[in-house]
């Protein structure tokens, strides 16, 4: 079969050759096994330096995070005796002092603990009298990223990707629903005193109704 050399488009052919040679020296990407990513990310997030053997597992990570980081952090969370008076005085100033802002949504979150008396038990929440103001403790169902973003302990840039980061939110919500809500529902009796730690979205102004709607991460009997 006769092939006409003249018909080969010289410039595109040369461009392809040059590009191919350039890519040998400046490759666009390297192919690496997937499991090393999870190991690196998990080590980075936990700060432990121990690499996980397999790809990132949000359920396993979340349970470890809950046990090793969230529970100790809850013990050190902002006390309601500092937060509530500041919020009543000036929500904007309180947000500046106590809130954490995550992402570009502009939502600030409080991670705080307090002790209050149960004033009402409703279908999806428990109302608490906390230092003279009413706050609501949610009892589910739970959606959103309040726990993930409210604690300030998790940084999106420490994770392999957004899918993994979003999966954490779902896992954290699942743990709250499985471990915290049942305890809250069991102990929520009008007149009872509850101690809690949790996350709440920072209000921009004081409206009627509960001052804060809290997603609890810890419920205990009042001392």
């Amino acid at each position: 079969m006769a092939v006409s050399v003249q018909k080969i488009p010289t410039i595109p052919f040369a461009a392809v050759c040059v590009s191919g040679i350039a890519l040998c020296f400046f490759p666009l990407f390297r192919v690496v096994p997937l499991q090393t990513k999870g190991a690196v990310a998990t080590a980075a997030v936990t700060g432990s330096g121990d690499a996980a053997p397999a790809a990132f597992d949000p359920a396993a990570f979340t349970e470890k995070f809950w046990r090793e980081r969230l529970t100790p952090a809850a013990a050190r969370a902002t006390d309601s005796t500092a937060l509530v008076p500041a919020l009543r005085r000036d929500p904007a100033a309180a947000a500046k002092q106590f809130a954490r802002v995550a992402g570009v949504g502009g939502s600030g979150y409080y991670f705080f603990r307090g002790t209050g008396r149960v004033t009402a038990v409703e279908r999806n929440r428990v109302l608490l009298d906390l230092d003279g103001v009413t706050v609501a403790l949610g009892t589910g169902p739970l959606f959103g990223n309040t726990v993930r973003d409210g604690t300030g302990l998790l940084n999106v840039n420490d994770f392999p990707g957004l899918a993994e980061f979003n999966a954490l939110s779902a896992e954290l919500n699942r743990l709250v629903e499985a471990q915290v809500f049942p305890v809250l529902r069991e102990r929520a009796r009008v007149g009872a005193t509850l101690a809690f730690a949790g996350c709440a979205e920072a209000p921009e102004s004081i409206e009627s109704g509960p001052l804060l709607v809290v997603v609890p991460v810890e419920i205990s009997a009042a001392p």
């Binding site: 666009l28 990407f29 192919v31 690496v32 096994p33 997937l34 992402g103 999106v156 392999p160 990707g161």
Partner: protein
Amino acid sequence: MTRPASREFLARFQSLLALVVMAVVLSLLSDKFLTTDNGWNILRQISVNLCLSVGLTLVIVSGGIDLSVGATLGLAGAVAAGLFKSGLPLPVLGVRLDFTLTGAIVAAIVVGLALGAVNGLAVTALRLPPFIATLGMLSIGRGLTMLWTGGFPITDLGPRFGYLGTGAPLGVPMPVWIVATLAGWFALVARHSVFGRHVYAVGSNELTARLAGLAVARIRFSVYALAGALAGVAGLLVTARLDSAQPTAGLGYELDAIAAVVIGGTSLSGGRGTIGGTVLGCLIIGVLNNGLFLLNVSPFWQQVIKGAVILLAVAIDKLNASSRDTT
């Protein structure tokens, strides 16, 4: 100089004269304006706008408009940052593609090119009005950026990536090198290449261009694709400069780019305009922003003044066009 000749001189060099007048006035009002550092500062600040405006000039000269360049910038920057930082997992194959700096650069350009190509297809194949097609792409681009980033900035890209935005080989900021090269290249293409002349022909009179045998659809498609690719480069520069890809990057940038193109003398009705004029338009906006900032003018007033300058530029353009039509 006769009266028509002087009018033509003014019309031709109005942007340059405006820039010189502004520079003189600002140097009298602020001793910080006419300094070397501030000069580099202005050039660095306008480089992103110029990168967008060069592509937009070709689009507007061809008789179109592109409202999506800011959104394209945001998505291209975010994709480049995401791929560079986290790679692309392919769970089916059990591997991840770890993107190099070259890969991130190519990815940003490819994303821009792809969005521009979709704009081009919408305008040529679907025959949508460019305003509507690119308005739709603006929204799609913003949404895709939010989906890709989850609403969070992608930060800590490292010094190698940052060099694209903050490096200064031979004392000249890297963005200035990159954008000056691109602007020079596209100025040559617009003025001296067959493609460039075809773009002007299509913008001057599409029907005549079609009857003359030009592939109008292909030319219009190409200018949108090129504008997208340049928005991809701009996205890379913004991301490198900030060392992070912000989900809202590029918000409103299309307006500054259109303003620069119009102030630079490009006619919104197509067929007329130069890359050189657009460079002057960007410089005018940059000098205006810089000067108003140095004079401590409120940001709200800055917006009002910028808007007034754009209106003035369009009004002068219309006056010139009508005087050309009557002569």
